[in-house]
């Protein structure tokens, strides 16, 4: 009984998220670019060095949506972690808006495969974590959090705990928590891989909406070719051993996009070209 009611409520909240289109993005901000030049990174594994990245170069223009595509273990997460500032490269330069990256910061939000919500905080307090940790929690921020929760369709769930939400709702809560910092860059590491296919489609469309609304530079790591074709301005294909970028596909698909695109011939052509890149590497 209870579970059916909860499910119904979730379903309606899901629809609500898609409907409310009121923009709450700030107008006075511009996106910044990201650049990695000649990045190499080795890890020690049982006394042996494994090369995770071999002098890799990747530039992201301000506001660009770039997908990093490749099989597991090809170093795409390592590159993302270097942009995030979680790990330092052995050699090479990483910059954001021309400034060198020295560590993690609120200008770059990172979303992982799981939503990594704080299980002991309510949805609203999860969203307020960033401002509260920096000690600038005020009435304005609280109102902004309410607006963001409304935008991601979770305003009715502000006082729920993460374990009470569905997978898609948890991810939207994580998005709201990241967006309250007004990041200029969003780094996503196979974000929707753990969601079911239908929810994943919703989240992909929703991410595209948010990206156009908030004017962010996005680096999106994935191993799903369709996902990359649907989302990206540019898809960079990576290959393992030695890990490097072996080619890129600049998308000519029109914007704004949503899932209706996947049935068009342009979409299939774009996917085909990426497949050719991947096949060429294999042979």
């Amino acid at each position: 009984m209870t579970s059916i009611r909860r499910l119904l409520r979730r379903r309606r909240a899901d629809q609500g998220a898609a409907r409310s289109k009121t923009s709450i993005a700030p107008q006075d901000r511009t996106a910044v670019g990201l650049a990695a030049d000649g990045i190499s990174k080795r890890f020690r594994h049982r006394g042996e060095y494994v090369e995770a990245l071999h002098s890799t170069t990747l530039h992201l223009a301000p506001g660009e949506f770039v997908c990093l595509l490749g099989p597991s273990g090809c170093g795409k997460t390592t590159l993302l972690n270097i942009f995030a500032g979680f790990i330092k490269p052995d050699s090479g330069m990483v910059t954001i808006g021309g400034q060198p990256i020295v560590g993690p910061g609120p200008d770059r939000c990172v979303l992982f495969q799981t939503p990594t919500l704080f299980s002991w905080l309510t949805v609203k307090n999860n969203v307020l974590f960033g401002p509260r940790s920096k000690g600038n929690l005020n009435e304005g921020i609280r109102r902004e959090a309410d607006a963001l929760l409304q935008r991601v369709g979770l305003d009715q769930f502000a006082d729920h705990y993460p374990h009470q939400l569905s997978g898609g709702m948890r991810y939207r809560a994580a998005l709201a928590r990241a967006l309250i910092n007004r990041p200029s860059v969003m780094l996503l590491d196979e974000p929707f891989a753990a969601l079911d296919a239908i929810t994943r489609h919703h989240m992909q469309d929703f991410l595209l909406e948010l990206w156009e609304e908030f004017q962010m530079t996005v680096l999106f790591v994935t191993h799903d070719i369709d996902e990359a074709v649907l989302l990206a301005d540019r898809t960079c294909v990576m290959s393992p051993r030695p890990a490097r970028i072996i080619g890129e596909e600049r998308s000519k698909l029109p914007r704004p996009r949503n899932h209706e695109l996947v049935e068009t011939s342009e979409f299939l052509e774009c996917r085909h070209r990426i497949n050719v890149l991947l096949d060429r590497d294999r042979s």
Binding site: P104, R108, T116, G130, S133
Partner: protein, 281 residues
Amino acid sequence: MSQTVTPQRPSLPPMNPPRFGLLVYRGVLSRPALAVYSFLLFIVVWQLISALIVRDPVFLPTPAATLKTLHHYLRTPFPTHGSTLIEDTGISLVRILIGFACGSSVGLILGSLIAGVRVIRAMLEPFIQMIRPLPPIAFIPLLLIWFGLGETPKYILVAFGVVPIVTVATAGALSSVPRDLLNTARCLGATERYIMVHVSVRAAIPGVITGLRLAMGTAWTGIVTVEFLAASSGLGYLIYQAGQNLQTSLVFAGLTCIGLLGLTLDTIFRLSARALDPTSR
């Protein structure tokens, strides 16, 4: 009973009133009710065995006789050491609380150090693992030589059993906080210090409380043993004396006191765990 539905966001469907049968079912089979049933069942089985099969109050007194003795000695001092059941319970409780507080504080500190500082982990961990299998009881002769018959050796013995358990639980809970969770907090702008207090410690609390609950069990073992061997007061001493005098119903009365105290303390831990961890059931 239709509600107005806004075009933007449909309101929640009205709740169906729960069926009467469901209410009864929930009340009769709720968790506290089930706990009471198992307790009652235990009493009934005990009463049946003692009154119908054993029929020897020295070998196995009935629950009724135990309750009578318990009630009698609550206020009346027991002749061997001249204190009432309430006083003995109080004495044991104070010993266990002081010993537990000291032991768990040390355990929390050691566990945090092991989780946080690589050098200390390498130095302390083998040591803790070596101490852990030693039964605290084996140290009673040493403690008596060093500290005599006062209260100090009792605190130390209780603490001695508590420290390794709390240390291992704390270190484990802190080290298993997911790295992605910490990195999430970092890129939301939190300082390392804020993350330590508000993410690491907060995420480790459920595991630490489980460790404290386990350690409380060891603490009771320790205090009862040391009161058997080297004390002239407390519940352990009372049980031992009652056994020597073949006052079996008083033995059971003492055991009941320990059981009730243990249940109370564990309930406190369980409730605090539930208050601090919304995912706990």
